[in-house]
């Protein structure tokens, strides 16, 4: 199948082939460059694996410490914006990475928080799309469930809490404590994942995409409509729910750490959760569950023959994705202390999928990079704010055509795509031969 027309000067067996671009950019120099790049990346990987375990561990710890240090990036002690940055306290060029140096720029710690949040979403969605191979276009729905759960139960502005206050004669300041909301969010998002997955996971890939899109919309519409007029008042409808508590309680100027202004502690909280999630998902990936997902992704029927019950594992993937997405929503609501239905629209769902696929679905580092780029670039280049959607659309198209495995692909995915391209080339040659000989 792959022996004819040996155009690809495929290197030695160990290195994966990659789909060399066939179009106008193709040609030997580009192919050689690509190959050299791949070889370099592979050799980096091999060197990494060759390191003794304690050094790898140290490097990881150093990296994690660096992540915690990020809010102070680019400045020596005492010099960080928004106080007039004293020029000789800057550590160029790192201070240029920050987003708060331009007029109207967003505070750097706030951007970091949003990055961490979106990385959380990307990791969760990666479980659904990358690991289990289920295209979910309604992921914002789980995000919304997490956000609304903490809002509905934890905020004194919530109609449910107010109804409970009235019913049980509780004080006006009573609401479910933030810490108690955490298990509630986990349980409810888990249930929502199962509820959404049950009717839909038996469907074929494309249908699944549309139905999940529909469910995402249904959640948003319900959040908007359940305001006492078009339905029972659960979410305050478009008015939104304010006064959502953080770890220190309802938003107030007395909150010392998790206040309304300084985003650093929020960022560290999100970062901690992200790190925990990443480790958790890695363990999952390398466990029986992860291998079952792999089997289902590759060939569902063969997996069934080997005793892998596809539906059950798909449901698990959905549920886990729901919990991860819901946790991100929970954090989002806690930090901004106010949510309304307009924030959970389809466009955001589509952007989530974009960041996973552009970053490299199946690869946690890849999807994280995708998420960070998605958040960081429009913040750093604020003048281009208006053109943001256009750029993302173009980026999606270009990346999918030129590098469909994503920026930092999972090797499996890259190989899969390369194989398909090879097949196509082979098939085309066969068809051409057939028609000329017919």
């Amino acid at each position: 199948m792959t022996t004819h027309h040996a155009e690809t000067n495929a290197p030695a067996e160990g290195t994966p082939r990659h789909a060399a671009p066939d179009g106008p950019a193709g040609g030997n120099p580009l192919r050689r460059f690509n190959q050299r790049r791949h070889e370099m990346m592979d050799s980096v990987r091999e060197r990494w694996r060759a390191l003794p375990k304690w050094q790898r561990f140290l490097a990881v710890v150093a990296f994690i410490v660096f992540l915690y240090y990020l809010p102070w990036l680019g400045y020596l002690p005492g010099g960080a914006p928004p106080r007039d940055p004293v020029a000789n306290l800057q550590i160029p060029p790192f201070h240029l990475i920050r987003t708060d140096l331009i007029s109207g720029g967003t505070p750097w710690a706030a951007v970091l928080f949003t990055c961490a949040l979106y990385v959380m979403v990307a990791v969760g969605l990666n479980v659904v799309i990358g690991l289990a191979g289920l295209l979910d276009l309604g992921y914002i729905g789980f995000f919304a469930v997490g956000a609304y759960t903490v809002a509905i139960f934890g905020s004194v502005d919530s109609p449910v809490v107010q109804a409970l206050q009235a019913r049980f004669g509780l004080s006006e300041d009573w609401a479910v404590a933030w810490a108690l909301c955490i298990p509630v969010v986990i349980v409810i998002t888990l249930i929502s994942g199962v509820l959404l997955g049950w009717p839909t996971l038996r469907l074929r890939g494309d249908y699944l995409a549309i139905v999940t899109l529909g469910f995402g919309e249904i959640i948003r519409i319900c959040a908007r409509n359940l305001n006492g007029e078009a339905g029972p008042n659960v979410t305050n409808g478009p008015r939104g729910i304010a006064a959502i508590p953080g770890p220190e309680g309802p938003p107030s100027p007395d909150n010392q750490i998790f206040g309304l202004v300084d985003a650093k502690p929020w960022y560290w909280l999100a970062l901690t959760l992200v790190i925990l999630m990443v480790f958790g998902v890695r363990r999952l990936e390398h466990s029986r569950v992860g291998r079952s997902w792999l089997a289902i992704r590759e060939d569902e029927d063969a997996a069934a023959v080997m005793g892998v019950h596809a539906f059950k594992f798909k449901l698990w993937a959905f549920a886990i994705g729901a919990v991860l997405g819901g946790t991100a929503g929970f954090l989002f609501a806690s930090r901004y202390a106010y949510i309304d239905p307009r924030q959970f629209d389809v466009k955001t769902s589509v952007l989530f999928v974009a960041m996973v696929v552009i970053g490299g679905s199946g690869n946690m580092l890849g999807v994280s990079i995708g998420a960070i780029l998605l958040v960081y670039l429009p913040e750093r280049f604020r003048d281009l704010e208006e053109w943001r959607m256009l750029f993302f659309g173009l980026a999606m198209v270009l990346v999918m055509i030129l590098r469909p495995q994503g920026l930092i692909p999972s090797r499996r995915r890259a190989r899969e795509l390369a194989d398909r391209a090879e097949e196509a080339r082979g098939g085309r040659h066969r068809a051409e031969e057939a028609t000329t000989h017919a």
């Binding site: 789909a19 066939d22 179009g23 799309i129 295209l135 009717p199 839909t200 038996r202 469907l203 074929r204 890939g205 494309d206 249908y207 995409a209 549309i210 139905v211 899109l213 529909g214 469910f215 919309e217 249904i218 519409i221 319900c222 908007r224 409509n225 078009a230 389809v346 589509v350 999928v353 974009a354 696929v357 679905s361 208006e386 053109w387 959607m389 256009l390 993302f392 659309g393 173009l394 980026a395 999606m396 198209v397 999918m400 055509i401 469909p404 899969e416 795509l417 398909r420 391209a421 097949e423 196509a424 098939g427 085309r428 068809a431 057939a434 028609t435 017919a438």
Partner: protein, 326 residues
């Protein structure tokens, strides 16, 4: 509920007329899916482009509202041609520039889908942001403001009752929309089932390799179905301007989603299914809005979709382009 039952005839007529537009757009989705197994997300923007083409054309010609029939009919036909060209052209452009390279690489469906979504975004932004800047000087009345709240086209035909049966009024717009949609659908059906090119389309839909062996140029067939789908969307766009008369860069999304739901409802890949699905969806939405309010109609539409897919995943009429497959 009583509101619905009292006026059920009227609501049904309204729903059918609404659904006819969904059906025309659904044809584009179903054609492409039937042959390529690809959800052409960008099709909704192809529809949007058609509406913009009509807006620009009518604005350049300074069309007035409710002109005499002698003027109205040719203007409508001109709009049809313009919209068909614009939509068909954009559809073809999208196929050639984006889908073709992906097909060459035998990319998996997910990649196609993401690309389609990206194209959708690009088109929305181009028509919402770029076009006003480019055409703002030429056509200040419509493109004077970026992302104008709404671009409008004068109504060509007045809404006058044609026949009233038992309290249900069928008016001119209902008739025009429904008849036009059916005519276009029959035309497409005839094309697919009775002509040589249509045979090629069915052959590729059934089995691309065998079709190639039989001398069918797959590439040409694919270009053909994209153009056909685009033309159908252009027709839907023209009917849209006749019935609704307002458009903006973002209308594609909702219409596209509904149309795709309609296509799936009827059986994706099945042309008659698209018609049936569209009409059924339109009626369900209008009923739901009558009982509750328009705020819930999308939810009902999606619930219908999920239920149908759960119990009859191939849709109401099954999946087959024309009569090629059982």
């Amino acid at each position: 509920m009583s509101n619905l039952i009292d006026h059920i005839g009227q609501y049904t007529v309204d729903g059918v007329s609404k659904g006819a537009i969904y059906a025309l757009v659904a044809l584009g989705y179903t054609l492409v899916y039937g042959v390529l197994r690809l959800i052409n997300f960008a099709h909704s923007e192809v529809f949007m482009v058609g509406t913009f083409a009509v807006v620009v054309t009518y604005s350049l010609l300074d069309v007035q509202q409710y002109p005499a029939l002698v003027v109205a009919i040719p203007t409508a036909l001109l709009g049809l041609v313009v919209a068909g060209l614009a939509s068909g052209g954009v559809a073809l452009l999208v196929e050639r520039s984006a889908y073709l390279p992906l097909r060459r690489k035998n990319a998996p469906p997910l990649i196609f889908l993401i690309t389609a979504i990206g194209i959708s975004l690009v088109l929305i932004e181009v028509f919402g942001l770029v076009l006003p800047r480019v055409l703002g000087g030429v056509l200040p009345e419509i493109f004077g403001r970026e992302r104008a709240a709404s671009l409008s086209v004068p109504y060509l035909f007045e809404r006058r009752p044609v026949v009233t049966i038992a309290g249900t009024t069928i008016d001119t717009i209902h008739v025009i929309v429904l008849v036009s949609a059916i005519v276009m659908m029959i035309g497409l059906d005839v094309f697919i089932n009775r002509t040589r090119y249509g045979r090629g389309v069915r052959a590729v839909a059934q089995n691309p390799q065998t079709a190639a062996l039989m001398g069918v140029n797959q590439d040409r067939v694919i270009m053909l179905i994209f153009v056909l789908g685009g033309v159908m969307a252009g027709a839907a766009a023209l009917l849209w301007t006749i019935r609704i008369g307002n458009t903006q860069s973002a209308i594609g999304f909702v219409i596209g989603l509904k149309a795709f739901t309609a296509a799936v409802l009827g059986g994706i890949g099945n042309l008659r299914g698209a018609l049936l699905g569209g009409i059924l969806l339109g009626v369900v939405e209008v009923y739901a809005a009558a009982v509750t309010s328009s705020a819930w109609e999308d939810v009902f539409a999606f619930i219908v979709l999920v239920v149908v897919l759960m119990f009859r995943p191939t849709g109401l009429l099954g999946e087959s382009l024309g009569r090629a497959r059982a």
